[in-house]
């Protein structure tokens, strides 16, 4: 460390020196270098194994953050994807866009399935099983009557809103269930008069995954009149995890949780039961 003799006569130049030095440092500091994060071409698997549907697995690549990344040599549509179920193994058939099917496979309650393929010099593995079909699904009513709401009627008033529809089922082991409510028609009448420029609300809505044995559907949640399908899914924990908080901010970015090894996404079994509910106009 050099010794600076600090005498009142030369303090002024010293402070000037410090300011100049600081300014120079600022200039250097403001040049930011663009750094690229390392990118690993880990594949994304998306598959919902629901009895009564075709077994389909979708594979895709991540969207990279940096503009210049090198992907692995593997082709998305040429993966040798193996599906094991029980004692059988079958190679899935690609049908383009990363979609692979295994036609003719029936999925029943309790069946286990596992997936295996190589990608980016790693073996991607996933396994799941079909959970039991929801048992004793009941609905409190099959029809509800709602008034049309337009600019003249205003807020629903006294005694006009029906009670919530109670859906219940048997859930002795507190596993996860999810309810999805879907309007069956392609152009249903909205309950609430929409403005000309307003987007149409979705035909489908859902409730949060629950480990309870009942759920209430509030009349206010319905957007359309007509016949609605009420689908109760018995889901596995890794599907419920998709609804957990996941980070999208630089303050707390961590890798998403997944049950797939060497891959991301979801490979999960489901089972369902369906009831119908009519929403009729008053």
């Amino acid at each position: 460390m050099t010794t600076i003799t600090l005498h009142p006569s030369n303090t002024k130049p010293i402070s000037r020196l410090i300011i100049i030095a600081a300014g120079a440092l600022l200039l250097f500091a403001s040049c930011n270098k663009e750094e690229n994060s390392n990118f690993t071409d880990t594949p994304i698997v998306e598959a919902y194994l629901l009895p009564g549907t075709d077994l389909t697995v979708k594979v895709s690549r991540q969207v990279p953050f940096s503009t210049s990344v090198t992907y692995s040599a593997d082709e998305i549509d040429q993966i040798g994807m193996e599906l094991n179920y029980g004692d059988n193994t079958v190679i899935m058939t690609p049908s383009g866009d990363g979609i692979y099917t295994a036609p003719g496979i029936s999925m029943a309650e309790g069946d286990t399935f596992s997936l295996k393929f190589d990608f980016n010099e790693k073996t991607v593995k996933a396994f799941t099983y079909i959970p039991s079909k929801p048992d004793s699904m009941t609905q409190s009513v099959t029809k509800i009557y709602l008034s049309k709401i337009d600019s003249t009627s205003g807020f629903p008033g006294m005694g006009e809103m029906p009670e919530p529809v109670e859906i219940s089922w048997s859930n002795p082991d507190n596993s996860y269930y999810l309810i999805i409510i879907e309007n069956t028609s392609t152009d249903p009448e909205p309950i609430r008069e929409l403005d000309d420029d307003e987007d149409r609300p979705a035909f489908v809505f859902r409730k949060a995954p629950t480990s309870n044995n009942r759920e209430s559907l509030r009349p206010m949640e319905f957007e359309y009149f007509g016949l609605h399908r009420i689908i109760l899914f018995h889901v596995l924990p890794d599907y419920a995890a998709l609804y957990e908080q996941n980070s999208s901010s630089s303050l707390n970015l961590t890798n998403p949780s997944t049950s797939i090894s060497n891959g991301y996404g979801i490979f999960t079994g489901l089972s369902s039961d369906t009831l119908y509910l009519e929403v009729k106009k008053n």
Binding site: I14, E35, S60, Q62, L242, S247, S249
Partner: protein, 1009 residues
């Protein structure tokens, strides 16, 4: 000093001649008293006589007449030859007869001045009743004019036919000239006391040279010293409020012999060279005071009273008068001190904040608006021990970290030890912030308050009798535009997107009224049963409450027989409660000790749930709660004792013992059925320390070696922490500092990264299994130059940190079940840097610039082999603070520049389509903290206008408040807080979430005194 009899300066004369003189003269001059002033050989040596016509020698509250005899006359001869004292009007006066100049000798007139000062010590208004009759013609006119005797004496009668005689008034009659001015002595004295409190503004050009706002100490004794190398002890207080001034510095002028007062204002100065030395007493925000010791000065209980800086309304710069707001520790290494009173002149955002002000110092990071904890030299806020009146505060944030939990109106002193701190403190790896609360005005009742665009603040100081003082301060925010602006910025931003349930009729959701506020309550009661004891009880309570809940019931929609209801709670409530009871006692002049028992509680509740009441088949109401509940409760019970023993001339020994019991409960539950985390930790920590402040090489070298040993119950091990600090004065102004030490931390704070708003941290106690005791080693070296006008310092530091713990809570789903895995990752790190500071200490325009070059890196095996930049790593940081005082105005401007903090960018992202058709984005990461945010800079300005009592043109006007306006982030720089990522059109888009922009604030502050 109370009323006294005439003091008899000690004589080195032979006693025998004196007795002879008395015996000879006694029967002739039965009623007068004879004294000597100084010793033979001293130029002001003289024998003088006091005579009181009414025989009363005790009182000094009366007119004095000094009579200087003719050339060659002794005092006795002057006494015998002058008979003015026989007049009736002079019966109650006091006459002092001085000998005239010896032939050929020229005794200076200032000797008369000195004697007059000595005899009328504490005689405040005696100037109107002090008279001089000069009969000695040998004093030249020039001497008389230069001596300014006319400023000491109300009237002077010059010798007849002397040149000076022609310039006196025409009225030569002594009776008229020496007429007493009647003064109601009692009331005048009280009025002076009354005027003495508060801060004053003076019109300097209206004051005569000899007047000052507060009586300046003057050298009154010119005699030989009677004592050498003695111990002086006492207390440093604020002259107007009586508050003890902790850590005030006392120096023997012209030497390097100095000491600091302790936390209660008591000091002991060993081996004071003589009882005529001069002490220089300094405390930030107060006038540096000189105390001229005399043989009469008490050596055991000397009360040194410092006056707050009075402000001059003149526009001329006073050079050499320090205007400190922040002071570098004069006798300590790496220490900074702040005056809470002076904070009102710095720009503020609704609240004067001590922690934010420390961010303007080198070594403390200023680019973090979302945490008011201090990041000192690359360390995190949980590595900074915050002590308030002796107990630890674990959470210092209000309003999402924008403000700290400390109300400046209740604070007396704040010190920051940036590193290498002494053995007295432990349990933290980086730094110590020691906050001392005010005791309360011991002389008069005081009340005051502030209101700003953010909060209101009110305080009261109530003394009861002479021994008891108290202070209460309360602060609460209100929902004005400023609160909303800060609140909206920091709470609404959410880092995660939870797929929203339902859809439907959004227009009919109930309006939720968000209540949120923060408050603080500080109270302290101090009782001084004797001059040696002080007992104080300090209470601290503050919390933030945020209530975003809503209640919805079908009844609200007009359904009488509603069979459901739903209650949505979104409640965040966190804060501190603490208190300490302390007993300090000065056992004898060398030993001071205090014992403290304290309790500190940090609580945090976060309840984001929905409560549904439904009816089951049996028509019973069933309430289910879904959502997240988080409860955090930390209790710290401590008992500690600290002693200072001024054992030897060159060594002050400090030792003590401490014991702390921790009880930490952390509970995180989802829905009311499942507990995700339930931790309950208890541990005991106890230990002792010993250190010695040793002065060597005639006080040029201050060496402080120390050892602290702690025993931690959870690991059943002892942890020795050796420390060493060194300060070497190369000259009176230049010093070299160095420090090194070992530090352990037994409780670490973990941040749950998945929650952005509300309190997101909890404290973890170390144990054998997953969380090791973290440790650090410090190395500090620096050089500083300081004189009355400037301070320059350079300091380099290196910290080596081991056994750091990172915590991650992973929700691990598998088809088989759900588990929450708590992962504790162990790693190590280092921080190093160089700090430079240049500060102008005096004059109307002052301030400082500070620059820090630093690096903080960590290594954790799970993140890879190399070191990655720590979250708080900032490479360059530059700060400039400029303060300008013009009459009643104070202007300040600050500018902060820091290079960007690191952040983790995603390496890739993907989208999953859920069963209901909605999509969810996910981001993957590879490198931790490999990117840098853009540079941070902002400027703040403020202007403060003092409100003064009295009328314009009055000589002296007391300050009773101020109006301040300040602007935060003057040029509305968009500083990036964090980045938000989104997948759009097959690529990842990042958007910046910025810190606060342009924010103006107005403050009105009023106080009684």
């Amino acid at each position: 000093m109370s009323e006294k009899t005439k003091r008899e300066p000690l004589k080195a004369l032979n006693v025998f001649p004196a007795i002879l003189l008395l015996l000879i003269g006694s029967h002739v001059l039965a009623q007068h008293k004879e004294y000597s002033f100084n010793n033979p050989g001293n130029e002001c040596f003289m024998d003088y006589i006091c005579y009181s016509p009414d025989g009363v020698y005790q009182s000094i509250k009366r007119p004095f007449v000094f009579i200087v005899g003719k050339t060659g006359e002794t005092a006795i001869e002057a006494f015998q030859s002058d008979s003015v004292y026989n007049e009736a009007q002079f019966q109650h006066y006091m006459f002092v007869f001085l000998p005239g100049n010896k032939a050929g000798q020229q005794r200076q007139p200032r000797c008369i001045e000195s004697l007059a000062s000595l005899l009328t010590y504490n005689y405040y208004y005696g100037r109107d009743n002090l008279f001089l009759k000069l009969r000695d013609t040998s004093m030249s006119v020039m001497q008389l004019q230069e001596s300014k005797l006319n400023t000491i004496f109300a009237a002077i009668k010059y010798p007849e036919n002397s040149p000076a005689d022609n310039e006196t008034t025409t009225d030569q009659n002594v009776s008229t000239l020496f007429r007493e001015t009647q003064i109601d002595y009692e009331n005048y004295h009280r009025q002076i006391k009354e005027d003495g409190t508060g801060t004053f503004y003076v019109e300097d050009n209206k004051m005569t040279d000899n007047e000052s706002v507060f009586e300046k100490a003057v050298k009154t004794y010119f005699g030989a010293p009677t004592r050498h190398a003695f111990t002086l002890s006492g207390m440093v207080k604020d002259r107007s409020t009586g508050e003890a001034l902790p850590f005030a510095t006392l120096l023997v002028k012209g030497t390097t012999n100095g000491t600091s007062a302790n936390a209660d204002g008591y000091f002991t100065l060993l081996k004071v060279p003589s009882d005529t030395s001069v002490l220089l007493v300094q405390y930030v925000g107060y006038q540096t005071t000189e105390v001229f010791l005399t043989p009469e000065t008490p050596v055991k209980q000397l009360f040194v009273e410092l006056a707050p800086l009075a402000v001059s309304l003149k526009t001329v710069t006073v050079v050499g008068k320090r205007e400190d707001m922040v002071m570098n520790g004069r006798l300590e290494v790496a220490t900074m001190k702040l005056s809470p009173k002076k904070l009102e002149t710095l720009p503020n955002t609704g609240e004067r904040d001590v922690m934010r002000s420390f961010q303007l110092m080198p070594g403390v990071s200023a680019s973090n608006e979302s945490s008011s904890g201090l990041y000192v030299r690359g360390g995190t806020p949980d590595q900074n021990l915050v002590l308030y009146d002796g107990f630890s505060i674990y959470h210092v944030d209000h309003l999402y970290g924008f403000f700290s939990a400390f109300n400046s109106n209740a604070l007396k002193d704040v010190q920051l030890y940036k590193g290498g701190f002494e053995s007295k403190f432990g349990g933290r790896l980086s730094s110590v912030t020691e906050i001392t609360g005010k005791d309360g005005n011991s002389k008069r009742f005081n009340v005051g308050g502030d209101i700003s665009l953010l909060s209101t603040n009110v305080f009261a100081e109530v003394p009861v009798g002479k021994k008891f003082t108290s202070i209460v301060a309360f602060r609460k925010s209100y929902k004005g535009f400023l609160y909303n602006k800060i609140f909206d910025k920091f709470s609404a931003t959410s880092s995660y997107e939870v797929p929203r349930e339902g859809g439907g009729m959004g227009r009919f959701s109930t309006e939720t009224e968000v209540t949120s506020y923060f408050y603080d309550l500080n109270a302290k009661m101090t009782y001084r049963p004797t001059d040696r004891d002080v007992v104080s009880l300090s209470i601290f309570n503050g919390a933030d409450k945020l209530d975003n809940g809503s209640a919805f019931s079908a009844a609200g929609f007009g359904m009488g027989n509603a069979r459901f209801g739903s209650n949505s709670t979104d409640l965040t409530n966190y804060g501190n409660t603490g208190g300490s009871l302390k007993w300090g006692r000065k056992w004898n002049e060398k030993i001071y000790g205090n014992t403290l028992a304290s309790y500190s509680n940090y609580f945090s509740q976060r309840d984001r749930t929905q409560e549904r009441t439904t009816y089951n088949d049996d028509d019973e109401a069933v309430t289910t709660k879904t959502g997240v509940i988080e409860n955090n409760d930390l209790k710290d019970f401590s008992l500690k004792s600290d002693y200072e023993w001024d054992a030897f001339r060159h060594s002050k020994i400090q030792f003590g013992a401490f014991a702390t019991y921790f009880d930490i409960d952390y509970n995180y539950a989802q829905n009311d059925t499942s507990d995700v985390l339930n931790r309950s930790n208890k541990a005991a920590l106890a230990g002792l320390y010993l250190q010695s402040k040793t002065k060597l090489f005639s006080d040029r070298l201050i060496l402080t070696p120390g050892l602290r040993i702690s025993y931690f119950g959870n690991t059943a091990k002892a942890y020795p922490e050796p420390r060493l600090a060194l300060k070497y004065f190369i000259s009176e102004n230049i010093s070299l500092n160095a420090a090194t030490g070992q530090y352990y931390q037994f409780a670490n704070r973990v941040t749950r990264e998945d929650i952005l708003s509300g309190s997101r941290d909890f404290w973890l106690l170390s144990d054998e299994k997953s969380v090791p005791v973290s440790e650090a080693t410090h190395y500090i070296a620096g050089l500083s130059y300081e004189d009355n006008n400037y301070l320059f310092s350079a300091e380099a530091y290196y910290k080596n940190i081991n056994s750091l713990t990172e915590y991650s809570l992973r929700f691990n789903p598998s088809p088989m079940g759900v588990s929450y895995d708590e992962n504790f990752f162990s790693g190590n790190g280092y921080a190093k840097g160089l700090e430079l500071m240049a500060q102008k200490l005096s004059g109307k325009f002052n301030g400082w610039i500070a620059y820090t070059l630093g690096e903080a890196k960590n290594h954790f095996d799970i993140y890879g082999d190399g070191f990655f930049a720590a979250n708080q790593d900032v490479k360059h940081e530059f700060k400039a603070v400029a303060l300008y005082k013009y009459r009643r105005w104070d202007f300040s401007a600050t500018w902060v520049f820091a290079t960007g903090r690191p952040y983790t960018a995603p390496s890739g992202a993907y989208t999953i389509t859920l069963l209901d058709g909605t999509t969810q984005d996910f981001f993957t990461v590879t490198d931790k903290n490999s990117q840098r945010l853009p540079d941070y800079h902002r400027a703040d300005i403020s202007a403060t206008f003092k409100l003064l009592g009295g009328l314009k043109g009055d000589k002296k006007r007391r300050e009773y408040g101020y109006i301040g306006a300040s602007i935060f982030n003057l040029y509305d720089r968009k500083n990036v807080w964090y980045k938000q990522f989104l997948i759009e059109d097959g690529s990842i888009i990042e958007t910046d979430v910025n810190y606060l922009g342009f924010m103006p604030n107005l403050t009105l502050s009023l106080k009684l005194r």
